[in-house]
């Protein structure tokens, strides 16, 4: 009975991992990059390197400049979202939606003048971040696909744990020099087991972050489907206020912001203004969460017509609501200082490696005998493996490259960067179909390595304020980013070399390659 249970769990682990592996890999990689979302965005807007940060005392004036712009350009919108200047983005980030279906308005303003800011159009790290839970397809579809993948990932983790007879010993087992399949299995176990708490945490909290989207049925029965009423009663947000239908001018925002800043010690992140021009207008100020694990940003609501403070929410959560906030806090890791952030990042890298080695392991375990041609299924998995494991890093590198190389005046420039990302991914996924499998791994790894180097070269060539060109002046961020790119280039170059040297029991390759190649390789090894 015991043996049968383990066999069925092993089966479940292998197949559940395979069917979602490619999407999971993309989610893991882009999600891991999102730990440095703000830094990536900052790198992708190099014009901001010289901009000094905005002092807190200036924020009331800055907010009024944002409103002045929105009154002129978006007076019909139901809600305005005003991103206040932050250390990593010293700009006003305005967003509004006029009516469902119409493209939303989005503009960046210089907080000192209220005029449109002179920065290149880019989605920056936000694109990678959104991709990791919406996959850049309509959000409803993207979120469900990601949620289903996360659930299957949980199943794969649970069945993977059950499958392990010696989970503790696997901590310390890595037989690098044995057969490829053995070392891939060990690599899969090490990356999986070593960071297992992180994998379980990040998958479960990822689903919890969209809890009422995936599992709305508690809200359906207890709140008749009114999610905002649930959020309000749990103390997360301030009460939504409907329009009254009587026109009234919006009171000046300056005094409201002053009052809010005097009430909350954290950094002001965002304002929302709803029902502009109506007597029921509301202004909500949202602050960075207080230091700690939980993601509990303070919200302060003001009456838009009178400017009177209505309520303060976000603190005083009850245990279950606080648990949800803490789980989300763990997922987004805003609390993490540089050292801890790096640890989270490395855990994310291990998660990506766990998924990647699992996928490769599936195909290695199914290499056919010498006299059998590989099945269609195996060929498909092999092609998808290269297309995702190598294709996605290539696409990310091209995304960064496009940011540096596309002409600054190009219309829809930000959109073109994203098109470059997907074009690169499609090309990188198609090339392996035309090449022998092992050759494809080798060539594509070298390609990614080259692309990472090209990013650094383009950065140096295009950015006049680069610290290496000004001998120590300028922002250290550019050095860190380029250093990370060089590390990635080295990693993929190393991988390419190992793949080229490897001459283990790759039964198909020995069959397809010229016989003369074998002694030459043996001599090198």
């Amino acid at each position: 009975m015991k043996g049968r249970f383990r066999t069925s769990m092993a089966w479940l682990h292998v197949w559940s991992g395979l069917v979602v592996g490619w999407v999971l890999f993309a989610i893991f990689v882009t999600g891991t990059a999102s730990y440095y979302r703000a830094d990536i965005t900052r790198w992708m807007r190099p014009e901001l390197a010289q901009a000094p940060p905005v002092a807190a005392a200036d924020l009331p004036k800055v907010a009024e400049r944002a409103v002045a712009y929105l009154e002129r350009h978006a007076s019909k919108a139901k809600t305005w979202f005003i991103g206040m200047p932050q250390p990593e983005r010293p700009l006003l980030d305005l967003f509004w939606r006029t009516r469902p279906g119409a493209p939303p308005g989005h503009v960046l303003l210089d907080p000192r003048t209220g005029a449109e800011a002179m920065v290149r159009d880019t989605e920056g790290g936000d694109f990678l971040h959104r991709f990791h839970y919406e996959l850049h397809i309509p959000p409803l579809w993207g979120r469900w696909i990601v949620g289903i993948c996360a659930m299957i990932m949980l199943v794969a983790l649970i069945s993977g744990i059950v499958t392990h007879k010696r989970i503790f010993a696997d901590f310390f087992t890595f037989r690098r020099d044995k057969a490829a399949r053995r070392s891939f299995l060990d690599a899969h176990n090490v990356t999986g087991v070593l960071a297992l708490p992180f994998h379980l945490m990040i998958t479960y909290t990822g689903v919890v972050a969209l809890a009422t989207f995936y599992m709305p049925w508690g809200v359906t029965t207890a709140y008749k489907g009114d999610t905002r009423a649930f959020f309000r009663e749990a103390n997360w947000i301030t009460a939504p206020r409907p329009p009254i239908g009587r026109t009234a001018p919006l009171a000046p925002l300056g005094p409201m912001i002053e009052e809010a800043l005097a009430t909350v010690p954290e950094r002001l992140e965002r304002l929302t203004v709803t029902n502009f021009g109506d007597a029921g207008a509301t202004v909500v100020a949202m602050f960075e969460e207080p230091h700690g694990l939980a993601h509990t940003p303070t919200h302060i609501a003001f009456d838009g017509a009178s400017g009177a403070l209505l309520e303060i929410r976000g603190g005083d959560l009850k245990p279950a609501a606080k648990t949800i906030s803490t789980l989300i806090g763990l997922h987004v890791a805003h609390f993490a200082e540089p050292g801890l952030r790096l640890l989270f990042f490395l855990c994310g890298v291990m998660g990506s490696a766990m998924v990647a080695t699992g996928l490769v392991l599936w195909s290695l375990a199914r290499l056919p005998k010498l006299d059998v041609t590989p099945s269609f299924g195996l060929r498909l998995v092999q092609a998808l493996n290269v297309g995702s494991i190598i294709g996605l890093p290539a696409a990310v590198a091209v995304y960064f490259l496009a940011n540096r190389l596309l002409p600054l005046g190009l219309a829809d420039r930000g959109e073109w960067e994203i098109r470059a990302f997907f074009a690169a991914w499609i090309v990188a996924a198609l090339i392996p179909l035309a090449r022998p499998h092992r050759r494809a791994w080798n060539e594509m790894s070298m390609l990614v390595s080259g692309l990472c180097l090209a990013v650094v070269a383009a950065d140096l060539a295009m950015i006049e304020a680069h610290p290496l060109r000004r001998l120590g002046e300028g922002e250290a961020l550019f050095l860190w980013f380029d250093g990370a790119m060089l590390a990635l280039a080295a990693l993929f170059a190393f991988a390419a070399r190992r793949i080229a040297q490897y001459r283990g029991p790759s039964r198909t390759d020995r069959w397809h390659e010229p016989v003369l190649a074998a002694p030459a390789e043996r001599a090198r090894a």
């Binding site: 049968r4 249970f5 069925s8 769990m9 092993a10 089966w11 479940l12 292998v14 659930m151 949980l154 199943v155 649970i158 069945s159 059950v162 479960y204 689903v207 919890v208 809890a211 009422t212 995936y214 599992m215 049925w217 508690g218 809200v219 359906t220 029965t221 207890a222 709140y223 649930f230 009663e233 749990a234 103390n235 009850k318 245990p319 279950a320 609501a321 648990t323 949800i324 789980l327 375990a365 199914r366 059998v372």
Partner: protein, 100 residues
């Protein structure tokens, strides 16, 4: 974990496909019923009950999926899930009649 080069019979394929459907549909269905029921019946403040119920559901679902694949016969898995769903559905019906 290694596969033997033995063709998979149609019967085996159908059995696996049924388990996949049962694990996904049954797992989500039971988790949804349990969330709805617990949201109404847990002896906590309303938002707290909803929060606890929703958190539990995301643990319940993978557990059910694993159980479906662990059970020896497909019929037994289907019957167990149907039984649990029936009980939860009945209780939910009662709870909703009691709720305002």
């Amino acid at each position: 974990m290694a596969t033997r080069a033995r063709p998979t019979s149609l019967r085996e394929r159908a059995s696996v496909a049924s388990r996949v459907v049962l694990a996904a549909g049954g797992g989500y269905g039971i988790a949804a019923l349990a969330t709805a029921l617990l949201s109404l019946t847990l002896p906590l403040a309303r938002p707290e009950a909803v929060a606890v119920a929703t958190l539990v559901s995301f643990l319940l679902m993978p557990a059910i999926a694993v159980a479906v694949f662990a059970m020896r016969s497909l019929r037994r898995a289907a019957l167990s899930l149907a039984g649990v769903a029936l009980v939860l559905g009945g209780l939910l019906g009662l709870a909703m009649r009691g709720a305002p």
